[in-house]
């Protein structure tokens, strides 16, 4: 059992100059075989391993990670957590995650700093208003908290938004989900890693998967840079690199991997106390506890694994930021970075069995996977352990691309007459 984290343990350890803290997780070499191997040591993969061990009593589990845990999109996103999705299936999925978030720090005994500061989605034209109201009503009837704010209420809730009627695309209202917010992204990976490790999960870093061995229609194991690992169940949670793993198993996925960028400003004293998103002008912003404005940009249109995007995307995002927050004009970009996001045609994820027995995929989260981390891991663990989906992820099967039963979360793409 790990020693428990608390203010008392911090005080106690200060007497020994913090030299007696245990490792948060071990650094094992891979065993020759496991019952389940999860590919991808990001939040989703680690959470999957955690719930496999905790709720499905599987003993022999490994997570293999080609770099360092939490180094992919878990450590590169803008940490927004919300569940105000339109369709029943999505609302069910993301609110399942949100409910776990609400007690995650206590569950993991690791402060993931889930901050329920509210998320606003701004409307800038009549089409937005209609679609966002539609979502508000759907959320309410799905039991998900969601309010509609008029322009005046937007100004009251977040005074620094430019609510002037004279801007190019005036703010015409907003949704507000008060239970939504942000969390500390690295802590999510580390907390799950520590929790999984304490239940015996082997977290193997610097272990890149090079091949998937199949026997007929079943998986037999995987080739890695640390040798062959035998297993009959492989759960893939490799986000932007999912297609590469799929190709190793002879599968194709309905996914394209594209650059997504984000940036932070230099730290400043608190200036914005909520998360504001605007789809119409493509900008979202929150402020980290450290004081940096965390700003998400859009995706580039082309496939790339470089973790770099174009300057024009960043410029476009900041255009929108200054349109909505002209007071930020003199602040300065401290750091920008990119991730590789795996995008499905319907902007919804896949948590699914595949045509190969023992091979499961959790992918296609696109730009919004972080918020789902605990729920995704929980449901993926269920799917792997029971070899069938949980009711909450049944709609997110890979077969929907054949049947046509998509879960289209683009919102209405077209613009009105």
């Amino acid at each position: 059992m790990k020693n428990k984290y608390s203010i008392f343990s911090l005080i106690k350890n200060s007497f020994s100059f913090h030299e007696n803290w245990q490792r948060a997780w071990r650094d094992p070499k891979p065993k020759p075989s496991y019952d389940v191997v999860i590919i991808g040591g990001g939040g989703h993969g680690l959470a999957t391993a955690y719930y496999l061990a905790k709720e499905h009593s599987l003993k022999n589990i490994a997570v293999v990670e080609k770099g360092w845990i939490g180094g992919g999109n878990t450590g590169r996103n803008t940490t927004i957590i919300r569940s105000n999705y339109l369709w029943d299936a999505s609302a069910g999925l993301y609110d399942h995650a949100l409910k776990i978030w609400e007690n995650l720090s206590q569950e993991l005994n690791y402060n993931v700093m889930f901050s329920q500061r509210g998320v606003m989605n701004l409307a800038h034209n009549l089409h937005d208003v209609r679609e966002l109201k539609r979502r508000t009503h759907a959320n309410r009837l799905n039991g998900i908290d969601c309010e509609w704010l008029t322009t005046k209420q937007v100004k009251e809730f977040c005074p620094i938004i430019n609510c002037s009627a004279n801007i190019r695309y005036p703010v015409m209202g907003s949704t507000l989900q008060r239970r939504a917010g942000t969390a500390r992204h690295d802590a999510v990976a580390w907390g799950y890693a520590r929790g999984a490790d304490s239940m015996g999960v082997d977290i193997i870093q610097n272990c890149e998967v090079k091949g998937i061995k199949r026997k007929g229609d079943s998986v037999e194991g995987l080739e890695t840079t640390q040798g062959f690992i035998k297993t009959s169940k492989i759960g893939v949670a490799a986000s932007g690199h999912s297609s590469i793993i799929a190709n190793m198993a002879g599968l194709k996925l309905p996914i394209e991997s594209k650059p997504l960028q984000a940036l932070v400003s230099e730290p400043i004293k608190p200036i914005i106390n909520t998360v504001v998103m605007s789809n119409a002008v493509h900008a979202y912003v929150s402020q980290s506890d450290k004081g940096e404005l965390v700003i998400g940009a859009g995706t580039d249109s082309y496939v790339s694994y470089t973790q770099k995007g174009t300057h024009e995307i960043v410029e476009g995002t900041l255009n929108a930021i200054l349109e909505l927050y002209p007071i930020f004009s003199r602040l300065r970009m401290l750091r920008q970075w990119g991730g590789v996001v795996d995008i499905c045609p319907d902007a919804s994820p896949i948590i699914s069995k595949t045509s190969i027995k023992g091979l499961y995929f959790n992918c296609g989260w696109g730009t919004g996977g972080f918020k789902a981390t605990p729920g995704s891991g929980h449901l993926f663990a269920h799917t792997i352990a029971k070899d069938e989906p949980h009711a909450l992820n049944a709609a997110f099967n890979i077969n929907r691309f054949v049947s046509g039963n998509l879960v289209d979360e683009h919102g209405a793409a077209a613009v009105a007459h």
Partner: protein, 90 residues
């Protein structure tokens, strides 16, 4: 921030172009004769290669012509551009 050599216009900044996805996926001539699986394969399934990928681009803010390009998606280096209907250099 590539520079793309449009086969019709020459070197131009990347911002003049729009991306059109994986190349050489031919729309089936007789879709009705395909199974649902085969149709889904055409419609949605992509190789999504990390490495040299053949892909479609359109010189949207230029001659508006579509063409193909070979680009390494792991480092964004462009290997070749060629016209629609042509085969990539190997």
């Amino acid at each position: 921030m590539f520079i793309i050599k449009c086969p019709y216009c020459g070197d131009r900044d990347h911002s003049e172009f729009s991306y059109g996805g994986e190349a050489h996926i031919v729309r089936p001539k007789q879709p009705t004769e395909l199974s649902d699986d085969q149709w889904a394969e055409y419609l949605f399934m992509r190789k999504n290669i990390k490495g040299l990928q053949y892909e479609r681009w359109n010189h949207a803010h230029g001659c508006r012509r579509w063409f193909n390009m070979g680009r390494d998606t792991s480092n964004d280096k462009i290997h070749s551009v060629y016209k629609m209907g042509e085969k990539p250099e190997k």
